[in-house]
Subunit: 553 residues, 2 copies
């Protein structure tokens, strides 16, 4: 039996139209133009009109279908205009990660097939070095003042954003699109192998907008003023700018001024209610707030932290300023939000910590399950550990142009994260699946061993990886850096580990090496891939203790 | 370009599964069992298990496809179980309006093709009179204690709900469904002609759940305890029970105890935060609250009023008790919510009234436009009046099994309501389109004339309808009831009307009749259809004044 409902597609032209009409006067975008907290402003109605002008300009450059339009930009008003215009006109938005090495930026632009790039003038200098390596790019649009006459454009056409929009009509006849067609794409940062692309549909972006804006998730609405510190090239800034424009939350854009002082002053001046960034940004902000009693953050309701786990000390630090840190977890493959760590109703004080410090509760349209090493679906008992798999209308089913069947399982996306779910749908992650050590059919958490080791007074850094073992398949190998002037032996450290209630005897490492520094990735994480590779190449001086006791289980 | 997102349908099995897992322990349903505020309780997990049992029981009665399953029930736990089980198993839920005349109830059940009916035991006596007139109904399931042995079932099979569920499995393999397939249907109350059916899809129900739960709409989430006084047979109780189960808001069900005293006590005992009902219910509740200082409604955040316009006096009355009345507007054809009357951020005190008393602001997925008598789309200027047309993913595109092309216009649904939109998307309705009088290509508001006339001290009731006129097409005809012992003449009343700044000279009626009482519908509204018909039949003693002055425009 068919319903009588309208066949009304969920597309981003709807976001543009709703935001620029219903919220056209009350929604505002303020972009920081200097670290002295001067801003330029535009209403949502004006942003919508400029998005229409941008769409006309892009039509003029031959963007008449689902071509990819890349951005190489800070968080600012023009980036938002591209967020709206490019998908709504039927093209595909591809924000490039300006923090990646140039080679990887070029790889993602070329792999996506970007034909037009919008580049902030303040980023043009570093960008220009990549020009020779972007063969598919035909047009480059520079946003902001820049002397284009002096540039060797390497055969591409250079345009000024302002000139291109000048005189264009302020309305655009947004085409009717299939809601399942591509709206935007982002690449994983790819610590292992090349970055992989995820292509968001109009439908997934809109459902994500609604789902994350509900009260149990981010709780965003027209009474909010939202500061995205999270870069707009980072999973569409967690989907928040689209949600904010749709639902009428004003936006404050920091552009390139990402230091604690301008951020703190901007929040105060613009009465920001909601902000989002990775923990490292908030650490600096907290130091600044602690040192400047006069700073007034009374407008701030929630500070959303994602991208990596949030330490309790940071949450406690913001609690002192009456600002609540809200931990959220997600992945590029998940649009990105999967869980938000709000304690259940009525849980406060010390009881709230186990919820606040978890990854959070599954949001309305994300389903999760834990699959044990034996391939069984685990109960939601808050204990049984396995790999987290997810599904839902904003979860990816594949990567763009690359086969990677290992990441998909019976209609579920394998997150590569290991942890457990509790009876109320709260997720706790304990490890990356690739860092779990599979010993004799059982799992050993490398993170547990590392955390324990780093609690030893002599240990500065410790990383544990799985290495091949004839008998057990894999066994833990510990690399340890001791504090200057201190020393330790493998025997001592193994004895220290064995005192932990979290570690079983059979999980204790027998292979040890003392090194100068643990190899790290470009973002400062332990690079376990390198450690495993160097171990295989015999780089380490390995001391091997007795074989572990027989597996207890 | 295709997205890489999962093809994940928006169906009600998702609501069942998400609600009974993530909110399985924290979500609770309490149903009133007596007006002394005794309740029976079930967790969402239990309700979900019972929904699975109901689905198995219905399969056993031959419900294996999209057959219609009707309900004739109060708001209670079992009604919620039917709300979940029937659509999630692929059948179509059809809540019957127990307040309609028996003939119309039978019409809607037969027109929908209901094969199974769930009937509350406390409603079985009045229901049983309809048994001979429901030829398509094969099974009747009685919910609650009732001696079935004494009933003449008229050839239908009678079952007890409890017996039917007993021993059924507590999980159900919910089928994969097309999100555009029918989930539920409701009929308009049909003051003109037969009731007309609207068929909601799984997709429309889910999008409506999300859209109305956002902070700028109803703002419902897991921290709420929701009391639906609005009957579940009334446009799916405004979509709120499905949203509450999905998002984890506990529910308090009043069953048949709808008097102010049990409602007030229930709110206090269960710490209700959110409630919804028509204004007449809240009028009684306010009187009770005013008379009982000891009543504690401190838990209540918002009281949602819909179904008809909410008088300012009622809002002010609840303001005295620190309870905010939130006015919402919608239609059966709109799932139903179209607008919610929250003043924009920062607007408070006296300035807020014009927003609070409007129909409200268009919600995230409802688009509206005003079409003038000349067929032009009006600007959102808060002044230009025309018929409101709406569209969106939860607006109907037709009626079930009936052609009614006049209600649809270029992909928009014609609401039949007349009013204007302001620059921020706030809707103000001034009239029903069918009650507007079309005179010489201009519109005359019958409501304005009536309100003005009823301000005259001698007038008890006054109704104005459009009647045929050779020269102007239509002209107003006023029927007036004077207070006992008082009198008035048409000349006096026309002079009185002409003093109003809202009424132009050319809008003044020339046809007048003094009558004993204005004909009314079953719900107490002026029955203008009857007045027009009686006018045509020459029933009224009409006094005609001079022709109106020439149209000014």
């Amino acid at each position: 039996m068919l319903s009588t409902m309208q066949d009304f597609p969920l597309t981003l032209s709807w976001v543009v139209k709703h935001g620029m009409t219903v919220h056209g006067r009350t929604g505002q975008v303020a972009t920081l133009t200097g670290d002295g907290v001067t801003v330029r402003r535009a209403s949502f109605a004006e942003v919508g009109r400029r998005a229409a002008q941008l769409a006309h300009a892009l039509r003029g450059l031959g963007i008449d279908g689902d071509q990819r339009v890349g951005t190489f930009m800070w968080n600012n008003q023009e980036h938002l205009e591209a967020y709206l215009a490019v998908p709504a006109m039927g093209a595909v938005l591809h924000p490039l990660n300006i923090r990646l090495p140039g080679q990887q930026i070029c790889f993602t632009a070329n792999h996506a097939g970007d034909e037009v790039l919008l580049v902030d003038a303040t980023l043009f200098q570093p960008f220009s070095a990549m020009l020779p390596y972007l063969p598919k790019v035909r047009h480059i649009i520079v946003v902001g003042d820049f002397d284009l006459s002096s540039v060797d454009a390497q055969g591409k056409e250079l345009h000024s954003y302002a000139d291109l929009l000048e005189g264009q009509p302020e309305t655009f006849d947004w085409p009717e699109l299939d809601e399942n067609s591509a709206a935007a794409m982002c690449y994983t940062s790819g610590t292992t192998g090349d970055p992989k692309g995820v292509v968001y549909s109009h439908r997934s972006v809109l459902l994500h907008c609604l789902g994350i804006s509900l009260g149990d998730a981010i709780a965003m609405g027209s009474s909010d003023t939202f500061l995205p510190v999270v870069p707009m090239f980072h999973v569409l800034a967690w989907g928040l700018p689209h949600a904010a424009f749709f639902l009428g939350a004003s936006m404050v854009m920091p552009d390139r001024f990402l230091q604690p002082e301008p951020l703190v002053k901007l929040v105060q001046a613009e009465r920001v209610t909601l902000a989002g960034a990775v923990p490292s940004v908030w650490g600096g902000v907290l130091q600044y707030l602690d040192a400047h009693e006069e700073a007034d953050w009374s407008s701030m309701r929630d500070v959303i932290v994602g991208g990596s786990a949030c330490p309790r000390s940071l949450m406690e630090g913001f609690d002192r300023h009456d600002v609540r840190i809200l931990h959220a977890w997600g992945m590029t493959e998940m649009s990105p939000i999967g869980t938000v760590a709000r304690p259940p109703e009525g849980v406060t004080g010390d009881d709230a910590w186990r919820y606040r410090l978890s990854q959070g509760r599954l949001v309305s349209f994300v389903d999760g399950r834990i699959v044990t090493p034996e391939g069984e679906v685990a109960p939601w008992d808050g204990e049984t550990v396995g790999e987290l798999e997810v599904r839902g209308p904003w979860v990816t089913s594949s990567y763009f142009g690359v086969e990677d069947p290992d990441r998909f399982h019976d209609g579920w996306f394998r997150t590569g994260d290991v942890g457990h779910l509790d009876p109320d749908g709260f997720l706790t992650l304990t490890d990356r699946a690739k860092d779990v050590i599979k010993s004799g059919g059982e799992w050993i958490s490398s993170v547990d061993l590392e955390n324990q080791l780093m609690g030893h007074p002599a240990v500065a850094e410790a990383s544990v990886v799985g290495v091949p073992d004839d008998k057990w398949g894999e066994r833990p190998f510990a690399t340890v850096v001791v504090h200057e002037g201190q020393s330790a032996t493998p025997e001592e450290l193994r004895e220290f580990l064995s005192q932990s209630s979290k570690i079983a005897r059979w999980q204790l490492p027998e292979r040890w090496s003392f090194i100068e520094a643990v190899p790290k990735t470009s973002v400062g994480k332990f690079d376990k891939k390198v450690i495993r590779q160097q171990y295989a190449e015999g780089v380490y001086d390995v001391k091997t203790l007795d074989s572990p006791p027989k597996t207890e289980s």
